[in-house]
Symmetry: C2
Subunit: 715 residues, 2 copies
């Protein structure tokens, strides 16, 4: 059906359903939608009396399924309203009477519009295809294998609608039981193209008609010859989500540039009194070494910490890029209005006392004021932000000055403090740390848009509890990921989606299941926990990008080799099958009883020269793409000897243009801690007392490289 | 059938099969075994010609399944040898000819003994019940849901055979899709008792006849009325495993006591020359402060480090408990023979150069010598061992003197060094560290037997790559777990079981799947990685045992509260539903906008008194069983203020006899590290920059408490 016609058909039908005050479509109505969008369904007709039913069944030839048609009976099976495999006139007559009788017994007031007669589908694999409206991401399509797999094991995958044919096909491979679709134990696989087409078409239907809340094709019977939906269930949404103000990429970058690279900062509520937030912010701006202008605003002071103070922000001379607020919540609206009138593009609202304490009206008020003036707002309820390369510390915490490649953001202040402490103790090189707090305006997608093109930033790591606009975030992530890794710690993972759901797909779309699939599709590296996010943020900018899948483990401790191999498998990495010539080359340096293959076990008693020779081999050979080192503390090769030789060899190859990720696990007495710090500072990601962590961060780097399309093969 | 009769029946049948040189039983033979052990199977008979087939089918009444009977065709379906749902004489005739024809086409030389006619089972849930012979644990039974769940998702569970009825029933709840057995979406559940009986009977069959290598009941058709095996497949083992020398508990304890609490130690190969292992061992024994006798043995010295040296161990005066070997491998047999003749019960073999370097014959030689004299051997190829409470450091590493409750063992020397370094840097209190190396004799079950009754040891943590005798280990673990936690890091997890397998169950019994289930059943806490094992070992002796499931989170940072809740769910713990009176009590101390319920969110700006008041409430209320604290670094409550008040309140309650596990996550600048050390030393398990770790170790404590039967409910 041409696009215009099909839209007109569906429009008319949905309007009619709405006019009747219904939200659930009947099966025949579902078939109209399916037919309009090319969703394959069995031949069917509705019979209003027994004779018509017999005639219908006769017309289809084979066995049929008979189902009650009633707008008041959503769960037909439970109401005894379905009979399967009816053959011949006598059986059709009996089934008709039984179904209508059961429906009456189930609900005497139900309107019975007839009995649907449907071609019986051939036996096949039962799968489920559906669509729901996610509060964060809008329309998403779902695919899963039917029965126990979906209902008990929740083996289901989601994508943002609409999906392309390729994306739909990728869903078939994304369920745990994907193998079944290709055929197991001698059974033929299903028609993947037909199945993908069903997903694709459902995705177009819900995209064209946002008022459709949920669609269930359950089951779709998939066979080697096709994929036909045995049942089509459509539920209209109760209400449309409010539309949100969006800014263009250029608008975002223009204001973000002035926020992150300001020349002039005003501090509203600056104070000379120690212990006040307005004092801490002033002090940190000064102590942090910010080279731009710093203008304290305080009606009761002439001078604060040696800088001239102004009564009002309207009095501050020159262009001001950022106004940092350190005043009580109640005073914010008036001051924000002045900031707007003064033409300052960014307001950083440190104060709390807004939506987080139930003061939603006050927060709405500042959003309205800011939008009226075109001021972008960071916060409220935040610690502020750091822009390290600008020596800018606009927070009430303490300055941080280790410049580097990772930008970190947090929705929560506590997590922001954990970021600061972790970064300081590990010496993590940072480009920015930004508090997002209540996200009344600026949020993760704005920051990602900026950091994505910020040359100081090599990696973005974000702690978040929700996304205000999932689609804007996905768009920003897709834009960023080909250039740099995006790490997300999504908190609230296990808060099972408690939303009321009228369909199977809806019940399966717990918040986290959708987040997980959508973030992965956007190429985001999801950190399983806070410490993982911090370690990824520390390691990813340090590690070179691997150019292929071949990981080689070189270990002095056989025991570490086994554990490192476990970690490699756990993290989806590939232990290289060492080619014979390379194996021979390694064997020249290791004792005859050292283990062949991978891990390369050089055994514990070896001197530094054996570590060095084997590491050189791994870096030299272009077939090797990443090295995982297992060091064992011995008298023959003390920790710092290992650290020095490894750093030296890696640096030498780097100078020659050979950059491969090298990670290390150091097993030994406490001297290994210093060796790890030495190595990390020189680009070798090294950890003591763990075989898991070095491989986890290497795994994160690989996940990004795959998502960014820098490695061949599927992501 | 009486036990004696059934054994005689099976014995005769197996002997006959062996006599024919076969290992695979035919279906009728399988039925004989099933009938003997009460394993429910459908009515069936073998027809050797078409007329007999028709007569059989007529006798069973309903539809039948027909299957080829041939000792040469193990996979009947693949050979076209199975037809299902045959009704009436004409269909039976046609099926008979088709089956025999297909078999001939599949393998013209196959011996065809007839066609089996079997009652067609009613439709039901297909499950698989089986048994295999595991190289580590011997006979294990398996249970899983049939089809995709087992074949693709490997949703299967194992237990040591034989199993009791209760154990068999527990297997039904141990698969991921367990819910299906109880009935989903309005379907009736299956007959659990009948299904458990099938498992139990299979377990008795393989226990009674160790020569049965594998059994597959696949599928078992489970319905609300019963559980009947549609197919019984039995394969005999190729060979019996060699039997192993076992010691009684008393024998083990007698020699272990002299090893771990020695009065006199001889060092064979003691040396005055720095850099030699025999020098390091002597030095460490002396520097460690061992109060017993230390006797250097060296034919070329009169005196070593101030102690009189002996030419031979036979010259050493008095009772000697332990001989530590620091001589080359080649010299070990002769010296070990002297140790044996001298009546020394323990030989600690530090030297390498045995099985780990391919010198299996040399290792066999020392085992023979040791067994001849009744000497127990630790090693070879180890760093030695520490017995901290004896001030004994019989290693070539460095002394360790922080006495405490955890005993650690490692199969690998590298992991042993990681244990030492981690313990030293964290100040972990240790009762022993023992290297096991090649485990030529003493192994994990001997050590567990000792540590289980050692009053200095509160927790045992073991790194292992294999178990020589899985059943002995399980027995020792079951003995120990009710008294103290046993943590195991099993390396080589992901080395998928590569054994050739002739049955479905065999293919599913990858090494790690069996290890995982069997260790869990033994009540062992499995650590997912090295660092986890170390952190569990550090924390478990420090944490009091919880007396119930109710965990309460008290947090200053809402963001930490969300992440801590995630971790609580991830670790199988229960966020307490706060009763209204307790909620009211908490609310007296928190701002009106603080979050109700659990987490108790006291919000970020609160002074120490709010933390203190809410922690007191949690400790005071007997309905609360464990506290998880989320601290947020602020000026109002600096890290050490939080640490001091928390430690003080916990100590105060401890004095009053109220001991609950309290763990804490500290989010803040680097000062939180000192606060964590302060808290940990005072019994509050605290970590900086992570919300996961404190909950993981609390989860480990809960897993142990459940396994030890100290908490109600299922483990």
């Amino acid at each position: 059906m041409p696009a215009q016609d099909r839209k007109r058909t569906v429009r008319a039908l949905l309007d009619a359903v709405r006019a009747e005050g219904r939200r659930t479509l009947t099966a025949p109505e579902g078939k109209v939608l399916a037919d309009a969008y090319g969703i394959a369904v069995p031949g069917e007709a509705v019979a209003t009396d027994v004779d018509e039913a017999v005639a219908c069944a006769d017309r289809f030839g084979g066995p049929v399924v008979m189902k009650i048609v009633s707008p008041d009976i959503p769960h037909k099976t439970e109401a005894g309203g379905v009979v399967v495999g009816v053959r011949g006139a006598a059986e059709v007559r009996a089934a008709f009477h039984r179904i209508v009788g059961n429906a009456r017994a189930h609900d005497a007031t139900a309107r019975v519009e007839g009995v649907q007669i449907q071609e019986l589908l051939p036996p096949g694999l039962e799968v489920i295809v559906g669509a729901v409206t996610d509060p964060t991401f809008g329309k998403v399509v779902a695919f899963g294998l039917g029965g126990v797999l979906v209902e008990v094991l929740r083996d289901v995958t989601f994508r943002l609608a609409p999906v392309s044919g390729d994306e739909a096909t990728s869903m078939l491979d994304s369920v745990r039981a994907a193998e079944v679709l290709r055929g197991v134990r001698g059974q033929a696989g299903v028609d993947r193209r037909a199945l993908a087409a069903q997903i694709e078409r459902v995705s177009h239907l819900v995209t064209d008609f946002p008022e459709i809340g949920e669609v269930d094709l359950n089951p779709v019977i998939a066979t080697p010859e096709g994929a036909v939906a045995a049942d089509v269930r459509v539920i209209l949404a109760e209400r449309q989500p409010p539309s949100r103000r969006r800014y263009t990429r250029e608008e975002i970058l223009t204001s973000m540039r002035r926020l992150m690279e300001p020349s002039s900062v005003a501090v509203i509520g600056a104070s000379a009194e120690a212990g006040k937030i307005g004092n801490s912010v002033m002090r940190n701006l000064l102590d942090g070494g910010f080279a731009g202008e710093i203008h304290p605003v305080n009606p009761r002071a002439h001078d604060i910490l040696g800088r001239k103070a102004y009564r009002s922000v309207t009095d501050v001379p020159g262009d001001v890029d950022v106004a940092v607020f350190a005043i009580p919540a109640r005073a914010v609206p008036a001051a924000l209005d002045e900031v707007g009138r003064r033409g300052i593009p960014n307001a950083v609202l440190i104060p709390s006392g807004f939506a987080e304490t139930g003061e939603d009206a006050l927060q709405d008020e500042i959003v309205t004021i800011a939008e009226r003036h075109g001021v972008r707002v960071l916060g409220p309820n935040i610690y502020g932000y750091y822009a390290t390369w600008q020596d800018l510390c606009a927070t009430f915490c303490t300055p941080y000055d280790v410049k580097g490649g990772v930008a970190l953001t947090s929705q929560s202040g506590g997590i922001g403090m954990a970021i600061l402490g972790f970064a300081r103790t590990t010496g993590t090189g940072v480009s920015a740390i930004v508090g997002l707090g209540n996200k009344s305006d600026l949020d993760e997608d704005d920051l990602l848009t900026w950091f994505g093109q910020d040359p100081h930033t090599d990696c973005v790591a974000m702690h978040l509890e929700d996304l205000k606009d999932g689609r804007a975030f996905v768009a920003a992530a897709r834009e960023t990921v080909p250039r740099k890794p995006v790490v997300v710690l999504k908190a609230g993972r296990t808060a099972a989606g408690a939303r009321a759901a009228g369909s199977h797909t809806g019940a399966l779309a717990g918040d986290d299941a959708v987040y997980d699939d959508v973030l992965r599709q956007a190429g985001v590296i999801r950190a399983p926990g806070l410490n993982d996010m911090l370690e990824y943020a520390r390691a990813l900018p340090v590690l070179p990008t691997p150019k292929g899948d071949n990981v080689v483990v070189i270990t002095g401790a056989g025991g570490s080799g086994v554990l490192l191999s476990d970690a490699i498998t756990d993290n989806g990495l590939s232990l290289m099958a060492i080619p014979p010539d390379l194996d021979t080359a390694f064997r020249r340096f290791i004792p005859p009883f050292g283990a062949a293959g991978n891990p390369v076990d050089i055994t514990g008693g070896e001197p530094p020269s054996t570590y060095e020779a084997t590491i050189r081999l791994g870096l030299e050979d272009p077939r090797v793409h990443a090295l995982v080192l297992g060091y064992w503390h011995t008298v023959v090769t003390p920790p710092m000897a290992f650290a020095e030789l490894t750093a030296r060899v890696v640096a030498e190859f780097r100078e020659r243009g050979v950059e491969k990720p090298v990670v290390a696990s150091l097993a030994g007495d406490v001297e290994v801690e210093e060796a790890c710090r030495y190595l990390y500072a020189r680009g070798v990601v090294a950890y003591p007392y763990t075989t898991e962590r070095p491989v986890e961060v290497l795994g994160a780097k690989y996940r990004w490289a795959r998502a960014a399309g820098l490695l061949g093969g599927p992501s």
